[in-house]
Amino acid sequence: MATPRSEWSDRSEALADALARIALGDRAALATLYRMASPHLFGVILRIQPDRALAEDLLQDIFINIWRAAQGFDALRSQPMTWLTSIARNRAIDSRRRSKTDVTTVSRHTAGTADDDEVDLLAALPSGDAGPLELLQQAAQARAITHCMGELSAEQQQCLALAYYQGLSHAEVAEHLVQPLGTVKSWVRRALLALKDCLGRDAAGPALEV
């Protein structure tokens, strides 16, 4: 599943171009890629690995890894930011397993008035209009997932957000929500199935490529 290159944004094209040049050993291209992508990747890493010093080490390791692995980037299989984000998240999840950091941040975003106790995870998601995503294709994808997350129950949303944004395991999500492990596992499983079904129904994205 991939977005056809003809629909890529200028930013994706620029990132892909930098990756192609990095694969040929172009140092300036690595600097360009770092400038474009490091703030986003650092934000993603910090959510999963809140220890700032460890997160900084991770970001460095990730770009060294990108320098070495750029030739494995396949523009037909994924967009550059998807590829880069996946590398960053994988490294950050691995580092969490090793350091076993305590969960200090909570994915609670209180919407509305101060006494509104409702957990609104959707506040963390991009809005459908412009928002942080100036790019048409990405905005469409973000709209789709925002819509589909909205169809899930509050518990399901919370499980997915804790796992995705903070890299928590089932057991950690269960501990965090004070729920039995089996319950959390089944919430996550059903949430993923519902999400897949909803995204397939709404977006009917491009056919799978093998």
Binding site: M1, A2, T3, A16, D17, A20, A23, L24, G25, L30, Y34, S38, P39, H40, F42, G43, V44, E56, L59, Q60, F63, I64, W67, R68, A69, Q71, G72, F73, D74, A75, L76, S78, M81, T82, S86, R89, I93, R97, A124, L125, P126, P132, L133, Q138, Q141, A142, I145, L160, A163, Y165, G167, L168, S169, V188, L192, L195, K196, L199, E209, V210
Partner: protein, 233 residues
């Protein structure tokens, strides 16, 4: 466990991309990934679905020292040759070859055989070993025979290649310094013969990349470099 079962592959891939698959199970999954196209496809699909969630994460400007650290680790001592791992792929061929002992042995053997043929007409045989860093894209080895005058090249795959429809293999001549130049598209099944004026001039290695069906749109390799062989003259 049968990892080709689609629902199982999908469930594991979802847990892997979401992050709930952790510990030994995650490591095991990562080990299996390169050899299982069904898993790779499921992972790519889940990355496509879930990565838009990351778009809402507020960017954080990293401190300047991080970039300095990256430069220091990769390009320590500007002006001196960079560390081996930071070399461009075509300059790292020696390392790869020692990494795959069998391929090296085969290449040497072929070269010995080739050099025993009377010199004037002896073709140059180059083994293009599979690039382990691109094995996830395609595991491909080739043998290239180049006529001694450097005007004809025959490239044959050494293993069965299943190429995704809409994609093609492109052969590149890689100079010791500078950008690779395209020698054109080659077949995934059977031999391809290429006639060019100067196949060997400034060529330090041959490489094969996976490209869109019409070939690289940019003139430089855009897809993964799946196979590389250094020229030994």
């Amino acid at each position: 466990m049968d990892y080709s079962r689609r629902d199982l592959a999908d469930r594991l891939a979802a847990g892997y991309v979401l992050g709930t698959l952790q510990g030994p199970a995650r490591r095991r999954f990562e080990c299996l990934l390169p050899a299982h196209p069904a898993l790779q496809q499921a992972v790519a699909s889940w990355q496509f679905r879930l990565t838009p969630l990351s778009a809402s994460v507020a960017p954080v400007d990293p401190p300047e020292r991080i970039w300095q650290g990256i430069e220091g680790r990769l390009f320590a001592g500007a002006g001196t040759p960079p560390v081996a791992a930071a070399l461009p792929w075509w300059q790292r061929l020696v390392l790869w070859r020692t990494a795959s002992g069998l391929a090296t042995a085969a290449a040497v053997a072929m070269f010995v055989v080739a050099s025993q043929v009377p010199p004037p007409q002896a073709p140059i045989v180059v083994l293009l070993g599979a690039n382990p860093e691109a094995a996830q894209a395609l595991n491909a080895s080739f043998v290239a025979s180049v006529s001694a005058d450097g005007r004809a090249l025959v490239l044959k795959p050494l293993n069965d290649l299943s190429l995704t429809p809409g994609r093609a293999l492109e052969l590149w001549a890689v100079p010791a310094t500078g950008a690779p130049r395209s020698l054109g598209l080659v077949q995934a099944a059977g031999a391809t013969t290429l006639l060019r004026a100067q196949l060997l001039r400034d060529t330090a290695a041959f490489a094969v990349s996976v490209e869109p069906s019409g070939g690289s749109p940019t003139g430089a390799p855009t897809g993964p470099i799946v196979s590389v062989g250094k020229l030994q003259l």
